[in-house]
Amino acid sequence: MSETVTYRVKHTSTVSYAAEIAQARFNLRLRPYRWPGQVILDDSLTVDPTPALMTEADGPYLVNTTRLQFTQPLHELTVTSRFHVAITQPPPPQSPLTISQLREQAVLSRDLTVRSPAPYLFASRIAQLDPDIADWAAPMLQPDCNILDAAYALNHAVHEKIKYVSGSSNSRTSPADAFRAGRGVCQDQSHVMIAALRSHAIPAAYVSGYLNTLPPPGEEKLVGADAMHAWVAVWCGEGTGWVAFDPTNDRLADTDHVTIGMGRDFADVSPIDGVFIGNTIQKLKYAVDVRRVDEDETEEAGAQAPAPS
């Protein structure tokens, strides 16, 4: 009997602009996507000020996109996402395949849909392949290695190689730069792991989501819990499918991980992007609160979001 955990998630972001911006259009990717072992009980997205147009779209990767369009000039935008989600502990992954067998399956796959391996075999906009990362990972990804053993080893190696340093990179940092610097945030650790796997023709995807904010008593808080988090899904063969690894915390993703979406890299699931007219500096404030419902029945009373890190 596997464990199921229910979370209440609240994520508020406020973007403010030094000068007014006009004709703003944004893509928000904040509503959780259907995911094996993850049931969304309810979700809502509120935007202040109210946009002229707000439309929902599915995709093009495993992500819900909310398009906002403003006709009035804008000084500040506040987006609040609230949802309840029930997560079931996945069974321990098993795959008999060697890397060369897996590669053959992925390369010759007859499926182009968004959950299939082929879309995640190639370099993408941010997750560009890099010869140094490829060579570094090569000893761990030998053709006769079991795919799961190799993925565990690589997950650990990335955790060791790329030190988690908050604020040490930005949304456009390439895996090659993070690898050379030897530090980064969850996004960089994920991109490096993705680049390493794809360099050896192993399908790898970028997952964005949240971590349980409050650890069980006596345990340390997970790294990356104060903001959105990112980890890596590795395709482990037709029988096994996608297995999610969290290189930041050197473990498999489990009931502590709430999934928002999956794409080829950060660009496919970026929480907010868009275009507007205006040349201005922006400031971003955010608060993420992910807590187990069973532990916190009096939710509204004491709910205090952690300060942005």
């Binding site: 093009p60 499926d111 182009l112």
Partner: protein
């Protein structure tokens, strides 16, 4: 007959006369030459063209080359290298490649079959993906291409066609069979050059091409134009050619095509999407766009749908596609079929999708993603060429497009094998293709050179494919090169499809209905209006600067008594200061008049100098390529004369020439542009600049007191000396001179005249307000006009002139606000890191 000609004639003693039959001496490698392999009737055509060229050059083939170069240059279609200031003429070989109509019929059928296979394949990849599910094409062949756009899955093009324009690179192998090197479904680069090459060759050779029965290209371009229009929902659609902008390598080609086809040349920032429809920003507000011929990659086309950092796309364009009212050629995502690896699957896809074998075979290709193919490639390593499946940079090819196995040293070989072991799907192996040669003129005689033919297809309005009868020939500058390695030094050649004696037409001309007669082009994008306005301003400023320099030089050598000498000195100082104010001469140092003049005429680094102004003028002209006629284009590029700065006479002559040429340019442009809105913006630019410079001159020359010399100089600048004398019969006095320069509305170089000229244009331009109230530029212009009419020459002191300048500045700003794209338009993207 020149000397070279008589020498050549001397050789008739030893063989055919190269003056009348230059191909008589041609020796090609055994087999594998398109001319030597031609049947007798076609060979006769080759001889006819060669002798025609020889006689056009009076027996000298090099002479034909120079005619041709001049025609290419005249046509203004030059190959621009990204980031280069100067454009490099695209070298065009005089000798076309001739293909008989019956041979072409086979090629054409093969080309059309490929286009149809790709259309079906695209419909499937972006539809229910059955070819993939059934194993005819691995999914990785689609997802591996950077041109695969997942977002387009399920989004049907309005007319049902993903492909409207398509290009294929072909080689002729030594056995005479044509084989496909590559496909181009994104950008048919070269289609404009093919047209241009034909025009240049036809101009240089008179009736030669017609005399051998060369098929015309016109029909193809008609099919292209009406084909794109056919998918639009409105009956008289407005179609734009979407260009990445002037820094793109093929920008001149795009501008030329837009002009030839009657499409508007638009950049992403000219366009906007509102409520699911696409609009172009024009001086008359937003106007619907019904169709786009895009020359930018899908990934850059819409920052909201694809790469949010794209600066050249249109935010929301894909929403407009979804709305169903916008036709785009080719439909976004069409480029996915271009991958090199596709060739390995095409024979099977031909069977599956068209039920027949592939008519035009590809160069044999093995996709290394499959085990058996990979093993074949490794077993035959030395005989095969290795390349990237998806045309991106892959490990082991050292950045090259492709490498021949046998050319690799042991280290490179190991790197390639390791790369293929890690990511086998990134590699293809291809057979080496020997290519046929064609006669090319090298150093005045015919030599065999390998060639590649790029063929073009367009869908007509009825949906049927029309192949351009001809194409863009690329002839290698080196003999005996392998096709795969043809490179950047190549020259281009026209390709002529020649009717044989008994060949019938293979394709019926598409049925075209005559367009509804219309007057006035109607649509002037805001950006084009902006550029025209600045073209006028820079042209005028160059001319006025030359006038001031000329006056300064005239004053520099003036003899006279000491009193008038010191007055002349003051005048020189004031004129020099004016040039410094305009940024034509360096500020600060005390300089002799001649040095100031020399700076204004030659100092490229000063942004107000004449060479700098001309440079800006040429840059702007580049942005207006689709609107300028050949003559205007030439006038703009003829401007800079050689100047000897030690010689006053030479400098004065240069000024005269600049004044003359720039006046001629203005005149030509005004003529070309008719009485259109385009002309109004150009002319307003001139008027505004002239008015502003006149005020600045008056301010610099008449601060408080002015000598007769000062005033004469001012009169000189407005060409008013003769008129003043006839009117006043005395030496210049302040009030009458200022009256002429600023207040007299009948003085065509004066300020009052310029303001009325602007007012007149403004009243003819489209109005946005529907409440009958005047727009801001009109209001300001009317006020300024009334103010000038109410002024008396005696009141024209420094502060008054200065406030007139402010008013004119406000008018300029109001025109820019109302008609041009807003200066802050460059869109700032917002990508934020919310991540831990």
């Amino acid at each position: 007959m020149n000397e070279a000609g008589s020498n050549l004639q001397g050789e008739t003693l030893f063989g055919p006369d190269p003056g009348s039959d230059p191909l008589g001496w041609y020796r090609a490698p055994a087999g594998g030459d398109i001319f030597t392999a031609a049947r007798p009737d076609m060979a006769a055509q080759w001889h006819a063209v060669a002798s025609g060229l020889a006689s056009a050059g009076q027996g000298n083939l090099s002479q034909v080359q120079s005619y041709l170069d001049r025609n290419v240059e005249d046509l203004g279609l030059a190959f621009r290298v990204t980031g280069d200031d100067r454009e490099r003429p695209w070298p065009l070989a005089p000798m076309p490649i001739l293909i008989g109509a019956d041979e072409w019929q086979g090629i054409e059928a093969g080309l059309i079959q490929r286009a149809e296979i790709y259309e079906s394949l695209l419909a499937d990849i972006y539809g229910d993906q059955q070819t993939i599910a059934n194993g005819h094409l691995p999914a990785a062949l689609a997802s591996g291409s950077v041109n695969f756009a997942r977002r387009m899955v399920g989004l049907q093009p309005p007319g049902g066609y993903h492909l409207r324009v398509y290009a294929v690179d072909l080689v002729r192998d030594p056995a005479g069979d044509w084989r496909v090197l590559s496909d181009r479904a994104r950008l048919p680069i070269g289609v404009g050059y093919a047209l241009e090459n034909r025009l240049a060759l036809a101009r240089s050779t008179g009736s030669l091409l017609a005399s051998i029965g060369t098929r015309r290209l016109a029909e193809f371009f008609e099919a292209l134009r009406f084909g794109i229009a056919a998918d639009c929902t409105r009956s008289e659609p407005r179609i734009g050619l979407l260009t990445p902008g002037r820094f793109n390598q093929s920008y001149p080609e795009q501008a030329h095509l837009a002009r030839h086809l009657g499409f508007s040349l638009v950049e992403g920032r000219d366009l906007t999407v509102r409520d699911g429809r696409l609009y172009v920003r024009t001086i008359a507000g937003l106007k619907r766009i019904d169709g786009l011929w895009r020359w930018i990659n899908t990934a850059d086309i819409d920052p909201l749908a694809f790469d949010q950092h794209s600066q050249i796309g249109v935010a929301g364009l894909i929403d407009a596609c979804r709305h169903g009212d916008l036709s785009i050629a080719n439909w976004p995502g069409a480029g996915v079929v271009e991958s090199r690896a596709m060739a390995a699957f095409l024979p099977r896809l031909a069977q599956v999708l068209t039920g027949g074998p592939l008519i035009l075979p590809n160069v044999a290709t093995w996709w290394c993603g499959q085990q058996a193919e990979r093993e074949h490639a490794l077993a035959n390593f030395d005989r095969l060429v290795f390349a990237s499946s998806f045309r991106n940079d892959v490990a082991g090819l050292s950045g090259a497009d492709n490498r021949l196995g046998s050319d690799l040293n042991p280290e490179e070989r190991a790197a390639l094998v390791e790369g293929m072991r890690r990511r086998p799907m990134d590699y293809v192996a291809q057979e080496m293709v020997e290519t046929s040669t064609t006669p090319a003129v090298i150093n005045g005689r015919f030599e065999p050179r390998p060639f590649v033919l790029r063929a073009f297809l367009a869908r007509g309005p009825d949906g049927r494919w029309v192949a351009m009868p001809g194409g863009f020939g690329r002839v290698s500058s080196q003999p005996n090169l392998r096709s795969a390695l043809m490179g950047a030094e190549d020259i281009s050649a026209d390709v002529c499809i020649v009717e044989g004696q008994d060949s019938a037409r293979t394709v019926d001309p598409p049925a075209l209905s005559a367009p509804v007669v219309r007057r006035a082009a109607g649509l002037l994008p805001s950006q084009a209006a902006d550029n025209l306005f600045w073209l006028g301003r820079y042209g005028e400023r160059a001319q006025q600067t030359a006038r001031v320099v000329r006056t300064l030089l005239a004053n520099a050598d003036m003899p006279g008594d000491p009193a008038s000498q010191s007055d002349a000195e003051t005048t020189r100082r004031r004129l020099s200061q004016l040039l410094v104010n305009w940024g034509a001469a360096p500020a600060g140092k005390k300089q002799r008049s001649r040095q100031v003049a020399a700076s204004a005429l030659t100092a490229k680094d000063l942004n107000g100098s004449i060479p700098a102004l001309i440079g800006r003028l040429q840059e702007i002209a580049l942005l207006l390529r689709d609107r300028l006629t050949r003559d205007s284009w030439r006038a703009i590029h003829r401007l800079p004369p050689p100047i000897d700065v030690r010689d006053t006479e030479s400098m004065s002559e240069a000024c005269d020439m600049i004044v003359g040429v720039s006046a001629a340019m203005t005149h030509l442009l005004s003529d070309n542009l008719g009485r259109s809105a385009a002309w109004r913006f150009f002319d307003m630019g001139i008027a505004l600049e002239r008015g502003s410079l006149m005020l600045q001159s008056a301010q610099a020359i008449v601060p408080g007191s002015a000598s007769a010399e000062d005033l004469s100089a001012l009169l000189e600048m407005i060409d008013g000396t003769a008129l003043y004398r006839s009117r006043y019969l005395t030496i210049p006095f302040i009030a009458p001179v200022l009256d002429m320069a600023l207040l007299d509305p009948s003085e065509p170089r004066g300020l009052a005249y310029q303001v009325q000229r602007i007012l007149n244009h403004l009243s003819q331009l489209p109005v946005l307000r529907e409440d009958g109230m005047s727009e801001e530029p009109h209001r300001i212009a009317r006020l300024l006009d009334a103010r000038i009419a109410g002024l008396d020459a005696d009141e024209l002191d420094g502060p008054t002139i200065s406030s007139l300048r402010d008013d004119l500045g406000a008018l300029n700003a109001a025109i820019a606000r109302r008609y041009f794209l807003q200066p802050d338009l460059p869109v700032t993207r917002d990508g934020s890191a919310l991540l831990g």
